[in-house]
Structures are given as structure tokens and as C-alpha cells.
Amino acid sequence: MTTQTVLEAVRDGLAEEMRRDATVWAVGEDLHIGGLYGQYRGLISEFGPDRIVASPISEAMIVSAGLGGALAGTRPVVEMRIADFALSAIDELVNQIAKARFMFGGQARVPVVVRLPQGMVTGSAAQHSQSLESWYVHVPGLVVLAPSTAADCKGLLKSAIRCEDPVIFIEPRAIWQNTGEIPEGDHCVPIGEARLVRKGGDVTVVTWSTMASVAHKAVEACVETGTDVELLDLRSLWPWDTGAVFASVKKTGRLLVVHEAVQVCGLGAEIVATVVENVHGDLCRPPRRLGAPRAPVPFSPPLEAAYRVSQQNIEQAIREMVAP
């Protein structure tokens, strides 16, 4: 085990895969100086400018480079800098990358990883903060990952790069500097398995990405006051671990889904709907969701604070769900 920041872990993860497989390359803005956050630092000197491609500000073309590069037999890693900028390349992502294999009858494989550092950081306001994972989960052809710990970020990035399907890799932008223990060796995390953060019997909390650590604090507070919460960090949003969630809900009878994205039509809706369709009889309380209000992300600190799903919101929801 070594301790690393999320940033160091994903940098190492990419470097390991690039050493393993000469067809892996990365493309995005400012990669020659290590990327916006330093997650590519040092890579250009090891791999050169043909495999660490510092691109013009041309998001549609950046994503197309990934698509075309994949069709030509390589495994591109596409950097979007901030998830919001992918909106300038949605046609390429959704109409092309996600569909190519199917519409060409299986002739094409598109092993692309599209990296989306996502979510709110202080003062970044409406156009640099939104969480749109439910969009990608809605799109056939895409695998969607959203890890939250340093180890999972590394291990799932490595699995994503080896995956034959296109992967939307959502990175927890607000917690790049969080540290965690990284297993030694070729650490890959399997796609599709939730991480059991805490076992418990009273209520199931399902979350992912940056909300995992917030939820964890809330859960610990509730545990201290006697509520035995089970916390699942989904990590993989498509496919998501229905097995783990169903089993947990069957045990607890109570489900709370927590995400940073807008609640309306967020992924929480899909999870709640799937759970009630499948294990309706095991629920002793209506399931609940906590997400952002259906408003753009505001700038001013008190507005940001009111907008975010907070530890307090989560604690309160848990307490309400176990109240007699």
C-alpha cells in the first residue's frame, strides 16, 4: 500500500496503461504542461507529443480524435478538462461514439475513455459545475463510471482503458487532493461492482462520486446516534450494481439515494424506479432521493451552500426515514 492523492493515483494509472499498451494515448487541452490539474504531469516527457497530444480548444474535434483514433485501432483517452465542456461535443459522444459499434453491425469497436472532471468547486458557478451523469446513463452504448476514492479512481481508470466499450469516466474534481491507500501492483477495479463503505441494517444509502465522502460523514454521525446505516458507493453508474442495492434494500427496507446532480431526472430516479419495480414488497418506507434543486449552480457562497446536498441534509433524511 502507498498513500496517494486522487490526482497522483490517476496519473500513475494512465502511465501504467500507456506502458503496458503502445496503442494507448491521450488527447486534450494543455496536456503538455500536465493538464489543468496536473493529472498528466510528466507524461509528455515519457511518452512524447504523439501520445500525449496537447490540442487546440476544439472540444468537438478532441472527442472526434478519440472516435477516429479508436476506429483506426488505438485506445484513446480523451480529456475534457471540465465536464461542462463536453456539451460542445455531445453530438460526437452520443451520435457517433456511443452508436458506432451497433450501427455498423459490429464492425467497429470504440475503446475510448472520455474523462470528465465533474461537479461543484467553490465559486465556479453555472457553467463550470454541473453534473450530468444521468444523461450518459440514458445513452445506449456507453459505460459510465464515477469513482470517489484514490484507489477506485486509479483502478477503474485502468479497467476503463482496457474496456472494449466507450467509457464516460467521471472524476471527482472537488477532491483531487484527497488521499487514499493504493494497493500495490496492477490494481484494476472491476466495472459494475459497488463499494460497500459500511455495512448496516436500518437504512440503505446509495451514492457516488464527490457525495460519497459527504454521505460517509453523515452516516458516521447517524451511526453514533444509533442508526445502523448501510452505505454503498456505486462507483459504476452503468452498469450499476443492482445486486448489491437490491440485497441491501431487502435487508433494510429503506432506500435513500444521494447525488450532487439535479434531482429531477437524475440517476436517483432510475435507481428508485428500478428498486420499486423489483423489490417493492421489501420496502417498509417510500424510498427517497436527495439531489440539487432544479436550478443552475449559483456563485455566491451562501447560495452555493444552500444549493448543495449537505451532510446535514443527508443526516436529516436518514433520521426521518428511521423515525417511527
Binding site: S64, Q96, G141
Partner: protein, 327 residues
């Protein structure tokens, strides 16, 4: 003018003519099949534009790649896709290039280096440039050609992909197949400035304007450009001026077209022009032989398509993705 005493040149001219004939007869057959209800959906026919596909692809090797447009039958045939697999695709059969999942607008033959038609105007530009970047990573020397219409030059991806290819000196041959119209609009009305080649030049990309109805002119231009791409890296740009003799889709009667221009262009049908030339060169017999050969191939493709089975309904669940596949 080509020296027709030269045996190679004669062979080349006949091969180009044959490619154009294959495209023409393939599309004429498809047109009838669509009208008869055998082909579902609509078709975008390239009748009148065959010289561009035939000429450009004649400069390419099998290992070279192309991307295409919604009007992609000609490009596919010229790059070497199988006529019968293509026809079967149009018919929605499991023997089609895309197993019936794509249809005319997504026709593709990766085994021939044809990376797909595209339902998005301009969609192929970025794919071509990305493919060139991928080839570079793989250490391949292959070039990539990219067909797009005159309407695509007003879309953002045109700028982004040309600038990118020029910046990274990728060996991409951009081919603007200018048939005068974007759907129901005369493109010149909505395209500012001196035209597609001027735009490419402003990005530092060497460009040529060619008569897109003269297959030899297109082939010569493409050969020169591709040779330069292989030698020095790229990109390069060809503005091929041609004309669409049919409607935008099979349902379109072309009411918006200028009648006089249309009649003038009918006389400049690239196949007519080439046949005239081949006749002048005393090659009428060869032309007739080619016509029979092509006719036979198209007939066989039609029979094979009709006889092939439809895909199993359950195939909608296949080839979506390996992980998280639909159930």
C-alpha cells in the same frame, strides 16, 4: 490529356469508368427497389457525382481509410466495398455490411477501409482526422480521405478538423464534394466568401479546385495530393465541383432547382463525358463489356439481397456494448 496509347492509362481510364458505372447502376437499382417498397426508409443518391468518389479512391491503397457522408454509396463502392453486402444492407438483411442495423445512411465496410457513412452533416470530418492521428500512433503510413458536402463547410466541425489536421500535419485528404445544393437550398446563397478552398487556404492547407464531373481530372488531382501527403505529411484539400442529378432524397422532386442549370448539367453527366472520351479513343467495345459486367454484378447483388434473411429481432440486444449490455 491522357496519352491513350499507353496501356496503363487505358486500363486506368476503363477502371475509373467501371467504378462510376457500378455506382450508377447500384443506385439506379436501389432507387427502383426503394420505390417498390423493398428498401425501407429513404435514400440519398449520388447520381451525377460518381466521378468524385471514383477519382479520389483511385488514388488510395486498400490500407488507406475514408470517411463519408449521408450520400455514401459511391464512396463505399469506389473504396472497394462489396456490392452485394451493400445492397443487402439497404434491404435490411442480415447479410448486409452492417447486418441490417445501419441501412443506407450508416453503410460501412471496415474491411475495405471505409469507416462509415454518417447521418450527421460534417460528421465524417473529425473521424477522418482522428483516424489519421490513430494511424500515427500505430506508426502506419496510410493516408485518410474524407468526403463531405458543400453544406458541411458551414458547420463548426469543418473548422475544428481542418485546423487540427493542419496543426499536427496529419496526412488527410479533405474532399469537398460540391453538388451545388445542401438539401433544398442552393449552397452558394448561404456560404460566405470565396468558397471552400479559400477557407482551407486560410488555414494553411494547400488546395485545388477541380471539375468534379471529369473523372480523370479528379483522379489526377487526388493522385498528386495523395503522393504529396505520403511524402511530406498533410493535409491537403480538393474542392470538386459537381452536380446532383437526383433530388436530395428519393422523395425530393427538386422543385427549387434552376431548370436551365439542370439541363446544362444533364449534358455534363460524368459517365456520359467519360463514355464520349472512351469512344473517341476507340474503346466502345470495352465500355460495352464493362456495362454487361456491371449489370451482371448488380443483378446478382439484387438477387442475393432478396434471398437473404432478415436479422433476428433479438439482435437489437447484440453489439451495443459488452459491459452493461441491454437485456
Amino acid at each position: 490529356m491522357t496519352d491513350i496509347d499507353n496501356n496503363n492509362e487505358r486500363k486506368r481510364a476503363l477502371a475509373l469508368h467501371r467504378t462510376m458505372l457500378s455506382i450508377r447502376r447500384f443506385e439506379e437499382a436501389a432507387e427502383i427497389a426503394q420505390r417498390d417498397g423493398e428498401i425501407p426508409g429513404t435514400l440519398h443518391l449520388s447520381i451525377g457525382q460518381e466521378a468524385v468518389a471514383a477519382g479520389v479512391c483511385s488514388a488510395l491503397e486498400p490500407a488507406d481509410l475514408i470517411t463519408s457522408t449521408h450520400r455514401g454509396h459511391g464512396h463505399s463502392i469506389a473504396k472497394g466495398a462489396s456490392l452485394s453486402a451493400m445492397m443487402a444492407e439497404l434491404f435490411g438483411r442480415v447479410t448486409g455490411t452492417c447486418k441490417g442495423k445501419g441501412g443506407s445512411m450508416h453503410i460501412a465496410d471496415f474491411s475495405a477501409g471505409m469507416l462509415g457513412a454518417n447521418g450527421v452533416v460534417g460528421g465524417g470530418l473529425g473521424i477522418a482526422v482522428g483516424a489519421a492521428q490513430g494511424l500515427r500512433v500505430r506508426g502506419s503510413e496510410a493516408v485518410t480521405a474524407c468526403f463531405f458536402g458543400d453544406g458541411a463547410v458551414n458547420r463548426g466541425p469543418f473548422l475544428e478538423s481542418l485546423n487540427w489536421a493542419a496543426t499536427f500535419r496529419l496526412p488527410v485528404l479533405f474532399v469537398c464534394e460540391d453538388n451545388g445544393y445542401a438539401a433544398f437550398t442552393e449552397t452558394a446563397r448561404l456560404t460566405a466568401g470565396a468558397g471552400p478552398a479559400a477557407r482551407a487556404e486560410s488555414l494553411g492547407i494547400q488546395s485545388m479546385v477541380v471539375d468534379g464531373n471529369d473523372v480523370l481530372a479528379v483522379a489526377d488531382a487526388a493522385a498528386a495530393m495523395v503522393e504529396r501527403l505520403r511524402r511530406e505529411g498533410g493535409p491537403a484539400f480538393i474542392h470538386a465541383q459537381t452536380y446532383r442529378l437526383r433530388g436530395h432524397t428519393i422523395a425530393d422532386q427538386g422543385a427549387y432547382r434552376d431548370a436551365e442549370r439542370h439541363s446544362r448539367q444533364e449534358l455534363r453527366d460524368p459517365i456520359l463525358l467519360m463514355r464520349q472520351r472512351l469512344t473517341d479513343w476507340n474503346l466502345s467495345q470495352d465500355v460495352q463489356r464493362l456495362q454487361v459486367e456491371v449489370e451482371t454484378e448488380i443483378a446478382a447483388a439484387l438477387v442475393a439481397a432478396r434471398e437473404a434473411v432478415f436479422p433476428e429481432p433479438a439482435s437489437i440486444y447484440a453489439e451495443v456494448q459488452d459491459i452493461g449490455a441491454p437485456a
